[in-house]
Symmetry: C2
Subunit: 108 residues, 2 copies
């Protein structure tokens, strides 16, 4: 897993890929959970889904510039890049996060 993640620079984050990434129920869920948890690894957010699926979604979010991944031992910890996103597209993430269900623990 000595994977070298590529996190796009702020200038390279563009609207369309970002909207595409966000326009998916699973990924929207990931975003909301990351927002409430602050940081989380892939396995934490599986809900019966296969790891390969989640890994895919994290990759999409990463390449869209929405989250960044930090390797710590065996785990890959993910965080939202809120500052960067707010700087790049003011108000966008805020308006999306506002729609997150308040009680995320209902399903885990």
């Amino acid at each position: 897993m000595a994977v070298l993640y590529h996190h796009p620079a702020p200038e390279d984050i563009t609207l369309l890929p970002l909207l595409r990434a966000v326009a998916d129920p699973v990924r929207l869920g990931i975003i909301c959970h990351l927002h409430s948890l602050g940081e989380a690894n892939c396995t934490t957010l599986l809900r019966g889904r296969p790891k390969s699926s989640m890994s895919h979604h994290f990759q999409v979010l990463r390449e869209a510039g929405i989250l960044q991944t930090r390797v710590e031992g065996v785990q890959h910890r993910n965080t939202l890049r809120l500052d960067v996103l707010e700087d790049r597209f003011p108000g966008l993430m805020t308006s999306i996060l506002r729609e997150c269900p308040t009680n995320l623990s209902e399903k885990g």
Copy 2:
């Protein structure tokens, strides 16, 4: 064309369909053009695309609550529902419209 359009009520506009609708290059283009033109019919925004495709995209935008269509004679005039959207998802459309190319006439 005595089509009865269904425009969802503000409460029935939900985030995921809205994001889905917006996460498409053609529809993003339509949105930007509508924003700069104020109002436009389908044919005005064709750029070599078949009418059926555009009609489809307008339908998606309409059902997502992004625009409303007003029939005037043979033409169907479309407008963004900015007030409703701003009320429902504050800041979202604003942050998207901010990314519209300033010179929309480059390609039409």
